[in-house]
Every structure is written in structure tokens, then in C-alpha cells.
Symmetry: C2
Subunit: 203 residues, 2 copies
Amino acid sequence: MGKATNITWHEGKVTKEERQKLKGHKSAVLWFTGLSGAGKSTLSVAVEQALYNRGIHTYILDGDNVRHGLNNNLGFSHEDRKENIRRIGEVSKLFVDAGIMALTAFISPYRDDRDLVRRLVKDGEFIEIYVKCSLSECERRDPKGLYKKARSGEIKGFTGIDAPYEAPKHPELVIETDRQPLEDSAAQVIHYLEEKGYIKKQA
Amino acid sequence: MGKATNITWHEGKVTKEERQKLKGHKSAVLWFTGLSGAGKSTLSVAVEQALYNRGIHTYILDGDNVRHGLNNNLGFSHEDRKENIRRIGEVSKLFVDAGIMALTAFISPYRDDRDLVRRLVKDGEFIEIYVKCSLSECERRDPKGLYKKARSGEIKGFTGIDAPYEAPKHPELVIETDRQPLEDSAAQVIHYLEEKGYIKKQA
């Protein structure tokens, strides 16, 4: 049985380059960082849709699929938050190695943590996208009612209220979601990926 | 800027089904389990090559990319070994969600640990492949010299020597690497994937 299937292979594992070739584009992690309510998740979804429509192979890592899975044994201590970002970084690296354009949508407030992820991958594979929005606007939006709880003291250590957000110093992109519509923000990311040669320009 | 790029999208994230459609095949985790030296790694590489040659999007999780990355803060205690497999399972789940045919090559000696991974994903998404090989043959091969060290007592708790290997009770596939050449073993896996409709049969 099975002998009829003709199988040939060269030595060793399929390489990152071979996987990228199969997919027709380069791979990298689009690391969206910013305050709660700044629009990281919304923007990452819009960018993913735009990429998918062009046949780009993507995957979003976010609270939904990471906090309840891989990182379900982590709490909210400083140490656990660090480990949370480290694991997300390591998984992003695996996705980049797999040839996938990975998108992550986490507040990731600390510069050190984000820089650790940057160092995990090769030059050009970490695209830090600062999703910038004023605290007052984030608080006005308050999509999950978290700012209200933070202000009332129901939630402690909330980024922007009683915990710091360390804005990126040299992000690859700054997207000001309180100054332009979502369409333009998504287009800004796509434009960057085209200009830098990650994906092909559309005819 | 960027406004010239025409972006359209529907609500919500791209779905698993959309990603599978883009890739042209179903996704699942091929979980290779067996003794050290049984041929898990060799077989997974051969299967990956065969899949790649057919345009299937794959990724191998193994000691090389997991132990030194995501799981570099785990040791070899019983608890850490359990957590090792759990994390690999959760990452496999993310890859399956991403539409990728994930292959894992870990001894994963405990039935409970493997069953936990099986329950993480949907029916049909966990393909347990028992890479079967007699202990004497594994020990004869001893590609990393580990059996020698285990026999001399240099390594403690080595699977098959002084730690148990719990063979799968109902694996999707049993591959006897001490009874057939690698080509036939790889063909057996490919044949299974074709027959069950994960990948298209070749014309």
C-alpha cells in the first residue's frame, strides 16, 4: 500500500524561503501596540482583510486566541505580563518562519518587552506599528467599559490610568486613529508593505 | 497618502475556512509520537517535503524551534514536560486555525498529554501518528547517543529505559519504521491525508 504514491525530497526541512516562495510574499510580524481603545484590533482586522483579498497568507494573534489558550496559565502580575508578551513574540517568530504575515494586537505597553520581540526575529521581520490615539479619545470610546472601571478603582494597574504606556521611540509606522478614518489607516499599512517589498504592488 | 489603495472588507476577522480556501486544502496537526530514535523527525521531514511538493502549506514544530524558543523556560520535571506538550498543543491549534498543516515531532510519551491536545482541536484536526519501532532497534540506531547515556545512568528518566512510553491506544495511523523504508512510511501518511480528504489526490 502507498507505494504507488511517488515521493521525492531533498535533505532537510522545507526552508522559510521555500515557504515564502509558495505563498508569493515575504513574512513578518505586524506588531500593533497602543492604548486600550486606540483601535489595534479594529485596524489589524481591516489590514488582514485587505491582505487576504490580495491572496496574502495572514494570521492574527490577539487576546481571543492567545489568552484563553497558550497563555491561559498567566495572570496579570508584572512577571506574567512579560511572559505573556515573550510567548506571543516566540509564536510570532514561528509564524514568520512558516511564511505567514502575522499580526498581533496587544497593548504591550513596555518598550523592553517589545524590543525583546524585535530581537527574536531578523532585521525587517518586526514591523512595530504604533496605533496612536489620545487618552481622552480612547476613554471616550471605551468599547469594553474598562476605562470606567479603572477610573472607579475597580480595575487596578490599567495602562494609561495607573500604569504607564511607553510609546515606541522608533516604530516602523505611526497610525493616528483619532485623525483619520479606518480606511486610511489600513491603507497606510498596506502602502508600507508594498513600498518595502513585503508584498507585491497591485496592478 | 494611501487613499489611492482601494480597500474593502467585511466585518470581522478572516475565518479559518477562508484561510483554508486560500491554501486549497484542509488543516490539521499531524502529531508524530514515539520513542527517541523511532524516526519521528525523519518521517515528519519526509512528509513535509512531499506535502510541499504538492503545494500544501506546512510547518514543523520540533525541538529545534520550540525548546530553544517558546519553551526555553521549561525544564524536564514532570510538570514542565506536561506544560511543554500543552504549549505545543496550543501552538498547533493556532497553526490549524491559520490553515496550515502542522507537523509535530516530540516523544510525547504520556497518553494524557496527547489526549489533552486532541481535545484542544476539533474532530478530525488531530491526527495521531504512532511512529512505532522496537526499543532494541531504537537503541541500535541511537542517533544522538542518548540511549548509551541513559544506560550508563548519565541521563535519568529517559523514555523507554527508566521512564515509560505509553503507546497510543487508538492512533489514526501506525507507522512501523523498523519494517519498511522511509519512502513507504511517508507514502502511508500522504495516502491517509488523501483518503480522508485533507488534501486533493494527485492526478
